[in-house]
């Protein structure tokens, strides 16, 4: 295993001779997407005319199917098959595995008469058209025996348990130090259940050739999807060819396979015909995963100068009874501020609603809404500027583990942000700045999000025309993965972008873990980099060993790549010339990355500072953004444009969390009240107005060979808290219940006599 020290040496990416790294290069696949020619899973054309599937969803939260009558559906026009738990083909039992090294266990559909959540698929219809399948599904009569269900999170907090294997982290004597602290904050913050609301619903197009199935599906993890399907069908992994070339948003919600994948495969097999199956918009809300609601108690005990002496962040969250998942909302706080006496931990309520699961910045997104507001409350209590309060609690080493930071530029983010945003314009006293019927205020928050590197591989091939094709079982969920891999390849090989092809999303390509946890760019990118470095070596050997090459007999350590050429000083030839002559069939090599053995010796994160200015309508309680600015430090930035899109997109999620987004379970049925995008409100353009973000110069040589880190989740972390703090600064209304909708703000205004 390697050491982080191996990564410190300069390399083609860190030297960046042609300047492609960091440039705001346009999207590699942008033209295909804006012209509608990028085929998403449901749109992929199968080899012959497909059948169309439709899922029927349960309408109770918990219980049993006692009868299910499909006669009318079977007789409905165009119907080819109707499956329920009584006649669905055999699948492996849930959790089973037959393939060695399988990353995911079996996940059967329609697996029994038990209903575990409202929206659970209970029947599957395939027909000649989607409309006929849907019409038939609506004719299925299901009789249920309902059972009492736990549906109300806020009313069930007292049932919260310690998650298995997750003891609280206790350092020093929190209770003692807190009791003695001259300044105390003890507040509880609530963030609601949220849905991913990807533009593209889960969808699969499947067909069989002999005993091998091809599935085009919308999933963030290629291997995970392939293995899950193979285990469920109880066939070898090689018999599943999974493709996921374009994905219309994932956000963690497509980190796993849903019933569309297995039922499309089984349906296509049973019919001997390709089959398409997708979730409806309503089923995306009801029958996939969501971010659970979080109730966070924050206790801060500080000295009069603001130094924290006692620090506790405790989260209560929920998950489905049968699918344990912890939203680690307190984890981020373990690395953020110095304080000698600490308590952090999680509690979990098991509920009878759809599965909770990861959603963009799991943990930080809801978690930072609490602590970063509590810090604002403490700053006000002590009469200290909120930025200054954070600077006074800046740790030298990781506050929990004592490990050194790989690099930590939080202070620089906050100071640069304050200056660029104009923080000095802020009146620390709330409710002082009027603009007509608006009260105007500013708020800030810190951002932190961990950085990760996972094992990955990549393959790269150069052909006789000099075209270099990188292949990887990686996904691009709309973040820009195609583009940055093309940049890394072009810069490493010394060629232009149009000499590079990127092929992703195929289970037969060298595997990468996929998109999630903001590890994608660093992980897939590093493997791609290693593959290209290996290609350089292979081409150098080829040239040096070829009597017809001008480089023949040279010293491989002096070989350089640039302008499409391979060279030793002034002896050079083009890559196309070399390959077409010396290896006309092309040269293919692979490369791999894995975490360094000593990577865990460092506390490694990405950081940022958020600054928000809002107006509060004193008549209606409506909050409108006026300006938002973020400064981030996240290693070397590969692409100025796609990286900025990621962090500003994250900041917009923060605005949504603060002002509009959330779902609520109807306690009588177990269903969500918002089931479409007219009800579940994500911010629109008009909600954002003036938004900008910058990155600080940084290279984290403990992260990976290129010194890059993830940016996909950092932008959300803390963003909503900056907005909430700005609301307080504007009008003096301190809300702790997200989202801060007009009804809540208005109540606060009226309570203040405004």
């Amino acid at each position: 295993m390697s050491s982080v020290k191996d990564w410190a040496a300069p390399n083609p990416v860190t030297e960046n001779r042609s300047g492609i790294i960091g440039k705001g290069v346009d999207r590699y696949e942008g033209k295909l997407k804006v012209t509608g020619t990028a085929a998403y899973a449901y749109e992929v054309e199968p080899p012959s005319a497909p059948a169309y599937g439709y899922l029927l969803a349960a309408t109770i939260a918990k219980g049993r199917i006692t009868a299910i009558d499909t006669a009318a559906a079977e007789a409905s026009p165009g119907v080819k098959l109707v499956w329920t738990h009584l006649n669905v083909p055999r699948q492996a039992r849930r959790g089973e595995r037959i393939n060695p090294r399988s990353q995911r266990p079996s996940n059967p559909a329609l697996a029994g008469d038990r209903i575990e959540f409202f929206g659970q698929p209970v029947a599957f219809v395939a027909a000649d058209t989607w409309e006929n399948a849907r019409a038939a599904a609506n004719l299925i009569a299901v009789t249920y025996a309902a059972e009492p269900a736990v549906l109300d999170f806020r009313a069930s907090l007292d049932q919260a348990e310690m998650p298995q294997g997750e003891e609280d982290v206790l350092i020093g004597d929190f209770e003692g130090a807190y009791a003695k602290a001259p300044a105390q904050i003890d507040e509880t913050y609530f963030s609601p259940l949220q849905n991913h609301v990807q533009m593209e619903p889960c969808a699969t197009t499947a067909w069989w050739e002999g005993d091998k199935v091809t599935v085009h599906t919308s999933i963030q993890m290629v291997k995970g999807g392939q293995h899950s399907l193979a285990e469920t069908l109880a066939i070898p992994s090689e018999k599943v060819h999974l493709l996921t070339r374009y994905i219309g948003g994932g956000f963690g919600g497509k980190g796993q396979a849903y019933d569309d994948l297995v039922l499309a495969a089984l349906g296509a097999q049973a019919l001997g015909q390709p089959l398409k199956l997708s979730y409806t918009r309503q089923q995306m809300f009801q029958a996939t995963i969501h971010r659970p609601a979080v109730s966070m108690r924050v206790r801060l005990g500080a000295e009069p100068d603001g130094r924290l002496n006692a620090f506790a962040v405790e989260a209560i969250t929920h998950c489905a009874r049968s699918a344990p998942f912890v939203e680690h909302a307190a984890n981020f706080s373990r690395n953020l501020y110095a304080a000698p006496n600490r308590l952090t931990g999680h509690r979990l309520v098991k509920m009878d609603i759809p599965h909770a699961g990861p959603m963009r910045a799991p943990g930080e997104a809801p978690g930072m809404l609490s602590l970063e507001c509590a810090m604002d409350e403490l700053a006000e209590k002590l009469g200290i500027d909120p930025i200054e309060l954070r600077l006074r609690n800046e740790p030298d080493v990781d506050p929990e583990t004592g490990k050194p930071f790989s690099i930590r530029q939080l202070t620089e983010c906050l100071n640069t942000g304050a200056q660029r945003f104009g923080w000095s314009r802020r009146n620390p006293k709330p409710g002082q700045v009027r603009d007509g019927r608006w009260l105007v205020g500013m708020g800030m928050a810190a951002a932190i999000r961990g950085n990760f590197l996972l094992p990955a591989k990549a393959g790269v091939r150069i052909d006789g025309t000099g075209i270099i094709t990188l292949r990887q079982g990686m996904t691009d969920i709309g973040t820009g993965t195609y583009t940055i891999l093309a940049q890394i390849t072009a810069e490493t090989m010394g060629v232009t972008m149009d000499q590079v092809k990127i092929e992703l999303g195929d289970s037969e390509f060298p595997p990468a873990p996929g998109s999630g946890g903001q590890f994608g760019a660093a992980t897939a990118g590093s493997a791609a980099f290693e593959a290209n470095m290996n290609l350089r070596k292979a081409l150098a050997e080829l040239a040096i060993g070829d009597p017809n090459s001008p480089l023949y007999g040279g010293d491989p350590t002096y070989v350089t790549f640039g302008n499409g050429n391979i060279a030793i000083e002034n002896r050079s030839e083009s890559l196309a010339t070399l390959v077409s002559r010396a290896a006309p069939e092309g040269v293919y090599v692979e490369g791999a990355i894995s975490p360094a053995a000593d990577a865990r010796d460092y506390s490694q994160h990405t950081y940022g500072g958020h600054f928000a200015e809002v107006g509060v309508d004193t008549v209606t309680g409506e909050v409108r953004m006026r300006k938002m600015f973020g400064v981030f430090a996240a290693g070397r930035i590969l692409n100025a444009k796609t990286a900025k899109s990621q962090v500003t997109g994250g900041m917009i999620w923060g605005v949504g969390a603060a002002l509009t987004e959330g779902n609520v379970v109807d306690n009588r049925y177990g269903s969500f009240i918002n089931q479409d995008m007219a009800g579940y409100l994500v911010p629109t353009h008009a909600d954002i107005v003036d938004l900008d973000a910058i990155f600080l110069e940084e290279a984290d040589d403990k992260a990976n060979p290129m010194g890059i880190k993830g940016v996909g989740e950092l932008g959300i972390c803390g963003a909503g808290a900056a907005v909430a703090n700005a609301i307080y600064n504007a009008c003096g209304v301190r809300l702790r219940d997200f989202p801060m909708t007009p009804d809540k703000v208005l109540e606060g205004l009226m309570a203040k006599g405004l």
Binding site: I673, D687, D743
Partner: protein, 317 residues
């Protein structure tokens, strides 16, 4: 699929006859509401009569000094019309506060008036709803009903009418012209177009089966300033939590009842010399809170007082 037939006549009388002659037939205008509801199996027309080719897409001056707006005029055109913008700015303000640009490009004056409620339970066919299935019950009553009515609700239904345009039309005292199944023309006030839910929330308007709205008639604008104010959860593309239209001394509220709500008590109070705040409260005194929508009462009172002040800066607060 649920089969339906389709035709696209070019003659108004033929369109009316086609709907009148076919049980379960419906007019299709912009389709931005009807098609969504068909996809959810909530609307189940047997026959669609597409009215987009009818010669009803013009805006004309009336001899009385008002405007006659063809029912097929799109919301975008109506809001942008120079006469509307200068003489009926409340209508432009109301329309552009609704939906999104794409929706307004498709939505028509007739269809906007007849759009159905946005009650979340109405949109969820797995739930009881008296409007969808008379007698099945009202899920909103004990449910998550922050957006429900504060005026004129019944034990059967607490839904609100979501149109913004209709609120401005109500404040303007506008009317609609229709053609009935027998080919006759009739007129009624926009304020009389919609019904309160009572025991029959599935009956939403006073139009007869097959009756087509052919035009919206704007009377000459009364003197005084015009203001449309809408409070909503996000800055655009969201239905109102509540809205207020003020046209001189004429006032209507939106998203507070099963129909656009003419605030007659507010108007009477204004006529009697009440201040803006007093006048606002005169109507709101009759509002009913059902536990989760109480904020609307304060919200409408504050918006009304503010909008009255903005419309007529000379008026006492």
């Amino acid at each position: 699929m649920r089969p339906f037939t389709y035709e696209r006549p070019t003659d108004v009388a033929a369109a009316v006859k086609a709907v009148a002659a076919t049980p379960g037939a419906k007019f299709l205008a912009g389709g931005t509401n009807l098609l969504d509801l068909m996809k959810l199996d909530i609307e189940q027309p047997t026959h669609l009569v597409d009215v987009n080719r009818l010669p009803l897409a013009g805006i004309e001056d009336t001899p009385q000094g008002g405007l006659r707006i063809g029912s097929m005029v799109t919301n975008s055109h109506l809001a942008a019309d120079a006469r509307v913008r200068s003489r009926y700015s409340v209508l432009t303000q109301a329309i552009v506060s609704g939906g999104s640009g794409q929706l307004r490009n498709k939505a028509t004056a007739g269809g906007n008036l007849l759009q159905r409620t946005r009650c979340a339970y109405f949109y969820d066919p797995s739930k009881p709803c008296n409007k969808r299935h008379p007698g099945s019950g009202c899920s909103a009553m004990e449910g998550l009903n922050r957006n429900s009515a504060i005026f004129g609700a019944s034990d059967a239904c607490i839904a609100t009418h979501p149109s913004d345009m209709a609120v401005a039309l109500t404040a303007l005292g506008a009317g609609v012209e229709t053609m009935t199944a027998d080919g006759a023309t009739r007129s009624l006030a926009v304020a009389d177009l919609h019904r309160l839910p009572g025991d029959t929330p599935h009956l939403e308007t006073n139009l007869a089966a097959g009756e087509l709205i052919t035009a919206v008639i704007l009377p000459p604008a009364p003197p005084g300033g015009q203001v449309y104010r809408k409070a909503r959860d996000r800055a655009s593309y969201a239905g109102g939590l509540a809205s207020v239209a003020v046209v001189g001394n004429q006032v209507a509220f939106g998203a507070v009842a099963h129909k656009p709500w003419r605030a007659e008590k507010t108007e009477a109070a204004l006529a009697g010399g009440a201040s803006a705040v007093e006048a606002a409260h005169a109507e709101l005194a009759g509002a009913q809170d059902n536990g989760k929508n109480g904020f609307k009462i304060a919200l409408v009172a504050r918006m009304t007082a503010d909008a009255l002040g903005q419309a007529s800066p000379g008026r006492g607060a």
